[in-house]
C-alpha cells in the first residue's frame, strides 16, 4: 500500500519532527514546573514568528506523517483499501492540519488580531 513517495514523505517528516519534538519536550519540561497557565504560554509565544514557524512546521509535518501512518494501520489492521483508504488519509491529513493550524494561530498571532 505504501509507495516510495508516501514512504519518503513519512521518513522526511519524521526526521524533520525529531528536533522539533526534542525542543517541544524541553520547553514542556521547563514550562510545566509550577503548573501551566494560558497566560504563561501566551506570554512566551504570542507574536513570535519563530514560534509560529516552529509549531507551524511541526503541525504540517505531523499532519502528513500521522495521515500516512494511520493509512497504513487502517489498511493492515482495518482491511481498508481502494478509494476509501485514500479518502481516509486525506481526511485525516486535512483534519489534523486544520486543527493544528488553528491551535498554532491561536497561541502565536491569534491574540493580536
Amino acid at each position: 500500500m505504501l509507495t516510495l513517495r508516501l514512504y519518503m514523505l513519512q521518513r522526511i517528516t519524521a526526521l524533520l519532527m525529531a528536533p522539533l519534538v526534542l525542543g517541544h519536550l524541553a520547553v514542556m519540561i521547563y514550562a510545566i514546573q509550577g503548573g501551566l497557565s494560558a497566560a504563561e504560554i501566551l506570554g512566551r509565544t504570542q507574536g513570535s514568528v519563530l514560534w509560529f514557524l516552529f509549531y507551524g512546521t511541526f503541525v504540517l509535518a505531523v499532519a502528513i506523517h500521522g495521515a500516512i501512518g494511520l493509512r497504513t494501520i487502517a489498511h493492515e489492521w482495518g482491511g481498508l483499501r481502494g478509494p476509501a483508504l485514500e479518502l481516509l488519509m486525506w481526511g485525516i491529513g486535512a483534519g489534523l492540519l486544520a486543527l493544528g493550524a488553528r491551535a498554532v494561530w491561536a497561541v502565536t498571532f491569534g491574540g493580536m488580531l
Binding site: 500500500m1 505504501l2 509507495t3 513517495r5 514512504y7 519518503m8 489498511h75 493492515e76
Partner: protein, 237 residues
C-alpha cells in the same frame, strides 16, 4: 525423551483440529510425526514434503504458532511437555489440512523481478567475478534461500497487506541488484517501489528471526529501501 507418547494436535481447516497419540522416538522430526499420523492413524491427512533434508522448502508448517521447516525440526525442540500443535503455513491459502497453495508466494517472487536479467548468451565466456567484492558478498548473503515461505508466513505485514511482495521475493530482488551479471536494475527498482513494494516493510524482523537458513531478508529489504531512496533524490520521482 522423557515421554513415550506424544499428544499431537493437527489443525485441519477452519472446522477444527484432531488430536493424535503418536509414539515418540529418539530421532524424530515434526515431519516424521505428521507422516506417522498419515501412515498409521489417519490416511486422509494431507501435507507436503519432498527432499526431507531442508533443501526443497516444501514442508513448512506452523508448529506451536511458529513457522518451521518440519523435516529439519527435531520434535524435542518444539514439544511443550509432550504436546505439540501443528497447523498449515500462515498467510497462504490452504488446499487441505497442512498443504497450502504456494502460488501467491511465487507469483510475488516473479513480480519482484526475481529472475535473472542478462545480456550474455551461451556463446559468451563466463564473466570473471571477484567473490570478495562488496557487491558479491552482499549478493551471496541471500542466495541460499530455499523459498520455503517460512519468512512469508512469519510476517505480519504480509498478513495485513495482500499486495505486499514479502521478504523472500524482496530479498531475491536485492540479491539481483547486487549481482554484477544482472542488467535489470531499473526494472527491479521499479518493481520494488510499487504499492506492494519494499516500503511496506516495518522491519519487524520476524523473517530474519525465523528463516531456517539463517538468512537476513530484513537487512536485504533495508538495502532496497536505501537504494530506492537514493534513486528518489537523484531522479526526484
Amino acid at each position: 525423551m522423557t515421554t513415550d507418547v506424544l499428544k499431537v494436535t493437527i489443525e485441519r481447516g477452519p472446522d477444527g483440529a484432531d488430536v493424535f497419540e503418536v509414539p515418540a522416538y529418539d530421532s524424530q522430526t515434526v515431519l516424521d510425526v505428521v507422516s506417522w499420523v498419515q501412515q498409521n492413524a489417519d490416511p486422509t491427512l494431507s501435507y507436503r514434503f519432498a527432499c526431507r533434508v531442508g533443501m526443497c522448502g516444501s514442508c513448512a508448517m506452523m508448529v506451536n504458532g511458529v513457522p518451521r521447516w518440519t523435516c529439519r525440526t527435531h520434535i524435542s525442540k518444539v514439544l511443550d511437555g509432550n504436546e505439540v500443535t501443528i497447523g498449515p503455513l500462515r498467510n497462504l491459502p490452504v488446499i487441505k489440512d497442512l498443504a497450502v497453495d504456494m502460488d501467491p508466494f511465487f507469483d510475488k517472487w516473479v513480480a519482484a523481478e526475481g529472475v535473472h536479467h542478462g545480456t550474455l548468451t551461451r556463446d559468451d565466456p563466463i564473466a570473471p567475478i571477484d567473490e570478495e567484492s562488496e557487491a558479491r558478498v552482499e549478493a551471496n548473503a541471500g542466495i541460499e534461500c530455499i523459498n520455503c515461505s517460512v519468512c512469508y508466513a512469519s510476517c505480519d505485514t504480509v498478513a495485513g497487506n495482500a499486495d505486499y511482495l514479502g521478504p523472500a521475493a524482496l530479498q531475491r530482488a536485492w540479491t539481483l541488484l547486487n549481482d554484477a551479471k544482472d542488467e535489470g536494475r531499473a526494472a527491479i527498482l521499479d518493481a520494488v517501489s510499487g504499492s506492494g513494494g519494499c516500503h511496506n516493510c516495518h522491519s519487524m524482523g520476524s523473517c530474519t528471526a525465523y528463516c531456517p537458513n539463517e538468512l537476513d531478508p530484513m537487512s536485504a529489504i533495508a538495502g532496497l529501501k536505501r537504494e530506492t531512496a537514493r534513486n528518489f533524490f537523484r531522479k526526484g520521482s
